[in-house]
Symmetry: C2
């Protein structure tokens, strides 16, 4: 059922660091992205795939992890993502990427969850470093990075309390994500 | 299988105009939206739901339909959407809505497709008219509208030819959407 997939698709930040993600899996996820709706059908998004140790390391060092967890600098060696999809905007096609990146990345993540994987979307990226590390031509704007792996983390959704949206980890390392209730989301 | 859902989720613009979409269906779709990832978990999106003839008409008149189909002004009476979700950004929470709208709308549409429905995302909206028609307080920025209904249209995906992204309708009213091939999407 689709709702189960949506529920299981949490923002995972700890993975089984030795779990290899086959290139074909990444190609399958791009195939899902390819057939999503696109503003005016322009399809201006392009992708860089990574599942090698070397390239993964070049991406990992450019990402800012979990802003609300002040005493956690990101996953240790052994629990890092084992694949990435870098989402680029091709400025030769459009300067405005609209809602396409969100559409595509949610679709990629849901597809990953169906395959027993999971991931996390990054917007906080050292973009010049990433462009250097991967030799990304200037024509491409770095929009986001999707980190992927076999999740090794327990995440639960809680109802929000006192409007505090900050996620947190309890003493058992369960990651808690406070979500607004439906009532708060709908204007009458 | 998730890929079937993604494939079936086309941008539908013609519907069975007498097909009633229950309020509970819209609430179920918002529940899906509620549990999606959100940038820094801020969850700044709010929603207006519509499935009444009166409110639907107030939304319909604000939407620009199918830019590439120059001789088609949008669905006739009898084939219009029977529900809408207006997606708002609550500026009291954030001024920047990031990739949240795309994430949420794709999730809503995939959920709709699973229920035998379908829809279309609008970004080209007469926003002041819509704000007037629905008495939307200034605090809320109108981001997008998702039109929903029981699709009454055949849509196929074609491989792109000569880089022409314009969708078109053939003599049998089948709607063709040219998509870039996977090879074009992936940077080596």
């Amino acid at each position: 059922m689709f709702k189960e997939l949506v529920k299981k698709n949490r923002s995972y930040r700890k993975f089984y660091g030795d779990y290899i993600i086959d290139s074909q899996i990444l190609l399958d996820l791009i195939e899902l992205a390819r057939i999503t709706p696109s503003a005016a059908n322009r399809q201006p998004l392009k992708y860089i795939l990574s599942n090698s140790e070397d390239r993964n390391a070049k991406i990992f060092e450019t990402l800012a992890w979990a802003g609300y967890l002040k005493d956690w600098q990101g996953p240790e060696v052994g629990e890092r993502p084992t694949a990435y999809i870098v989402v680029l905007g091709d400025t030769a096609i459009s300067k405005d990427f609209n809602v396409d990146p969100g559409i595509v990345m949610q679709t990629i993540l849901l597809g990953a969850v169906e395959k027993g994987l999971g991931g996390c979307i990054f917007a906080s990226i050292k973009r010049s470093l990433l462009a250097d590390n991967l030799d990304i031509p200037e024509r491409y704007q770095i929009l986001n990075v999707v980190a992927l792996g076999k999740p090794n983390e327990n995440i639960v959704i809680d109802d929000i309390k006192d409007g505090d949206v900050k996620y947190w980890r309890d003493e058992n390392s369960t990651h808690h994500v406070p979500k607004r209730t439906g009532d708060e989301l709908i204007l009458k």
